[in-house]
C-alpha cells in the first residue's frame, strides 16, 4: 500500500478533508471516507452513470477518477440538491412523474439532469432523451424520467423568468 495522501475538497458547499490511498476512486472516497452514500456505484467503468456528480459544476463520473484528482474541487452530490428543508424542483418532478422505482440510478439521473438543464434549459424531448441516455435505468423504461425532466425544465424556466421580472 502506498502512503496515504490528504484530499481536501468542498462537497455541497462544506469544506471536507480525508486521507486515502492515491489509488482510491473518488466515488469510494465520497462513500467510505466522507460517509456520503447517496452516490452509487453501478458499473465502475463509466457506462451506467449511477455515480454521476457535479465536479466544478459539470457532470462527471466519480467512478472514473481518483479522489486525489478532485483535490481542491467543488463537488455537488445528490445530498446537496435539497435546500432549506425543501426538495429541488428536479426532485419534486421525479416524485410527481414516477421517475424512480428502486431509486438506485436516481442520484445519477438527478445530477445528470441538473447539468443538462444548466447547459440547455430549453432542451426538447429528443435532446432530453439524448442527454439522459448517459445514465442507465432498468426499472422505469425511462418514461417517468423523461416526463420528470421535461416538467422540471418547464418549472425551472418559469422560475427563471419570474426571477428576472
Amino acid at each position: 500500500m502506498s502512503v496515504p495522501v490528504t484530499v481536501r475538497l468542498t462537497v455541497n458547499g462544506v469544506p471536507r478533508e480525508g486521507r486515502c490511498e492515491p489509488r482510491k476512486l473518488l466515488v469510494d472516497f465520497l462513500r467510505e471516507d466522507l460517509g456520503l452514500t447517496g452516490t452509487h456505484v453501478g458499473c465502475e467503468h463509466g457506462i451506467c452513470g449511477a455515480c454521476t456528480i457535479l465536479l466544478d459544476g459539470q457532470a462527471a463520473r466519480s467512478c472514473l477518477m481518483l479522489a486525489v484528482q478532485a483535490d481542491g474541487a467543488e463537488i455537488t452530490t445528490v445530498e446537496g440538491l435539497a435546500r432549506d428543508g425543501g426538495l429541488h424542483p428536479l426532485q419534486e418532478a421525479f416524485h410527481e412523474h414516477h421517475g424512480l422505482q428502486c431509486g438506485f440510478c436516481t442520484p445519477g439521473m438527478l445530477m445528470t439532469a441538473l447539468d443538462l438543464l444548466r447547459v440547455k434549459p430549453d432542451a426538447d424531448e429528443a435532446e432530453i432523451r439524448a442527454g439522459m441516455s448517459a445514465v442507465l435505468c432498468r426499472c422505469t423504461g425511462y418514461h417517468g424520467i423523461i416526463e420528470a425532466v421535461k416538467a422540471a425544465a418547464r418549472k425551472l424556466a418559469r422560475s427563471a423568468t419570474e426571477g428576472r421580472t
Partner: protein, 812 residues
Amino acid sequence: MGERWIGRPLKRVEDAHLLTGRGAFIDDHPPVPGVHHAAIVRSPHAHARILGYDVSAALRMEGVVGVITGDDVARHTKPFSVGVAAPVHYYCAATDKARFVGEPVAVVVARDRYLAEDAAEAVVVHYEPLPAVVDPEKALEPGAPVLHEAVGSNLASHRRLVYGDPERAFAEADVVVRERFRFPKYGSTPIETYGVLARWDPLEGVLTVWSNFMGPFIMHPLTARVLGLPENRLRFVVPPDIGGSFGIKTSIYPYIALIGLAAMRTGLPVKWIEDRREHLLASSSGTDRVAYRELAARRDGTVLGMRFRWFDNVGGYIRSPEPGCSFRPTGNFVGPYRFQHLEVEASTVMTNKSLTGPNRGYACGHLYFETEGMMDRLAETLGMDPAEVRRRNLIPRDAFPYRTPTGGLYDSGDYQAAFDRALELARYGELRREQARARAAGRLYGIGLALAVDPSVSNMGYVATALDPQFRAKPEYLPKSGAVDGATIKVDPLGRVTVVMATTPQGQGHRTVVAQVVADELGIRPEDVTVVDEMDTFTRFWSISSGTYSSRFGSVGTSAAALAARKLKAKLVEYAAHLMEVPAGDLEFRDGGVHPRRGKGPSYSIKDLAGRAHWHTQSLPEGMEPGLQVSGVFGFRVAEAVDAADRVNSSNTYGFIAEVMAVEVDPETAVIKILKYVTVHDAGTIINPMIAEGQIYGGALHGLGGALYEELAYDEDGQLLTGTFMDYLVPTASEAPVIEIAHVESPSPLTPLGSKGLGESSSMTVPAVVANAVSDALAPLGVRITELPMAPSRLWELIQAARAGAVARSTP
C-alpha cells in the same frame, strides 16, 4: 362511505429518501465493527480440472486475514440441493472442476476491498484446462465434453409431458406448421449488483447475513443445510432498499453461503459487493433455448394441438429454481388459446456458460416468442389475418374460471375484449392500409401482434413437474404446494396504524400500495398508515414462498394486508359491542369506526377504541386477547401439488396481455424503428395505476432489450464476449419507445381485492411482438425472425442473404 384510495395514482412514500440520497441499500449498511472485505478469485477457464492452490503469497500480503479455497468449501459445506434427480454437486464455489468462466474458486478476505483485490491476484490456482461446450444441442451429442462425470452426460433433466391426445390432433390436422427458434441468454442486470455482509457469532452459533436477496425464502433452509447450521441459527436480513432485481437476485444465495463461510472461517464480519464484471460473468441470467415447435390446425384456423421440444441451457450447474425455465408456465403452456392437445419434451442441458435462474418474465418470454411466432406462421400458411387466427382460438369469456389441459386454473378474464381494445387503440385496420401503401412504395413496414396469459404468484408446487411421476409417487416423497404472504397491523394507544410486512420490495412501491389498501379497509387516509416493509427471518413472518418474485405482491401481498385489516375490524367490532352492550351483529365497521348497522346511536372511532384497549384492559370482553395487533397470512387454496398426469396450477392468478406493434426496417442499415406500440393489460383490480404502469414501461423495455440488444454472448471456448456495459447493450432513454397503455379489469375471484400481479408484464410479450412485426416487415423478402436478439448486423445479414437468394433464384 368515505374516500376510496384503491384505483388512484397515489404518489409514493418511498420517494423522499431515495431522491435525497438517503436510501438504505446493502452497500450503505452502517459499518459493522471489525468488518473486512472479500474479493473473489474466479476461473478464467470455461472448463478445467483444479489441481491445487497456492495461497502463501496472498496470505503474506498487507491486510490479508484469510483465504478460502475450494478445499475449504468441500470440507466445510455441503452442495446445494438441486431441483432434479441427477447427481449434480453444486457447491458455493468450485471444488473439483471449474465449469464456467467466472466461477468462484477462492475468496480473499482483507482489511479493505483494494487490498483484497491485490491479494486475489496473488492466489495461484493450478488448472488442467478441458474442452468446453456451450451449445445445448452440441452438449448432448456423443463425444461432447461431459461437465459432471457423476451424471454421465450433460442432460440435467428430461421430461416428456403429454396432455390430451396430441398424436391424434396431428393425425387429423389439415395443416401442420413447424419452426425452430433460438432464444438468447440475457439478464435484467439491476444497476445495484449483489451484496452480502455476513457476521458469525460463535458463542451464540448464529450467522447473520445482510443481503439484497429477494426470495423465495426456500433458499434460506437450503443455505442453512449447506452451512451445517440449524435454520434458527441462520438469520437473513434484507435492507429496506434493493436496487432492482427482476428475478436476478433470487440467485444470490450461493454467495450468501460463500461469504458466510468466509465469515465463519475467519471469525470476522465479511462484506462483499459484486462488481459489474462479476455480475455479467457469473450472477444469473435467463436460459438460452433452442426450441422446435409444431402446430396442428384445421383449415379454418382452429388450432388442434401443439408440440414443444425444448433444449434449455442452464450453464455449468443446474441451480435451483431451475429447471423452472421449462416448468414455471406449466399451467399456462397453452397461453390464451383453447386447444386441448399438447406434448412438451423438455431437456435441461448443462454447458460451460454461467448459471441461470429467474429473469423477468421467467420462461414466459421464451414461451410466447415461440407460440406467437407459430400463430403468425399458421395465419400465413392459411392466408388469414393474424388477428383473425388468434381470435378464433381464444378462450371465450363464458369459459372462466377455465381449467387448462395442463392443470392451470385461469381465474378470470375477457381475452376477446382486451384484444379488441388493443386492435382498436392501435387502429389495426388503418395500420394495415398504411402497410399496403408503404409496401407499394418499397418500404419494409410490418405489424406484429402478441397475446399472453400473464401468470402471477407461482405455486411452489410447480417445480416438482421436473421430477418423474414415479419419483413423486414414492412414499418418502413430500409433495409441495403453496403461495402465502403475511401482514401484521398494529394500532398504537393514540389510534395510529402501523403495518408490518416482509416482502423484500425492489422498487415496486409496496409501502404506498399497502397504505392504500389498509386506508380503504379502515376508512382512514393513507398518510395515517405507516408501512414498514423489511425482512428479517428472526422477527418477521415468512415461509418457503416469501419474497417478491413471479409478480406476486399485487396479488398475494396486498391480499395479506387486506386480510389483516379485516381481522382487525372484526376485533374492533367485537370490542365495541362489548362496550356498548349490544350484539356484535348489530354493529359494523365503516368510515374509520364502529357504528350501528341501522339507525343512529353511539359509535366508536379507531382512536376511541385504541385508547381504551391499551389503557384499560379490564374493559376487554372475557377471553379477548389484549392489544390491538393482528396478523393475517393469506394463502391460495388453488395452489395444489402437481398430479400424477403432470397437471399443475403453476400460478395462482392469471392476467392477460394483448399487444400491437408497427415497425419499419431500414433496408440499408437494418435499423428497426418502432412506429406504434400498444399494450393492453388485464391484471384484475388495479390498486395504483401509476405504479402499475411503471411496471409495464419497465417490463416492456426489458423485453425490448432481449429482443434487440442484450445477449451474454460466448465464443466456442466458453469465453464471455460481453463482459462490460460497452458490449452488453442495455437500452437507454434514446431507445425507449413511446408506449400506449390501456387496462381492462376482470377482478380475480380468488383475492380479497380482485387484484392480480403484473410485475413481469410486457417483458414476456415484447420479444414476440417485435419479432412478429419485423418478420411481417421482411415478409416481402421471405425473411422470418427465428432468433433473438435482432441486432442490426444479424438482421442485415438476413436481408442480404434473402436478396442474394432472390437474385440466385431469378438467374437462370
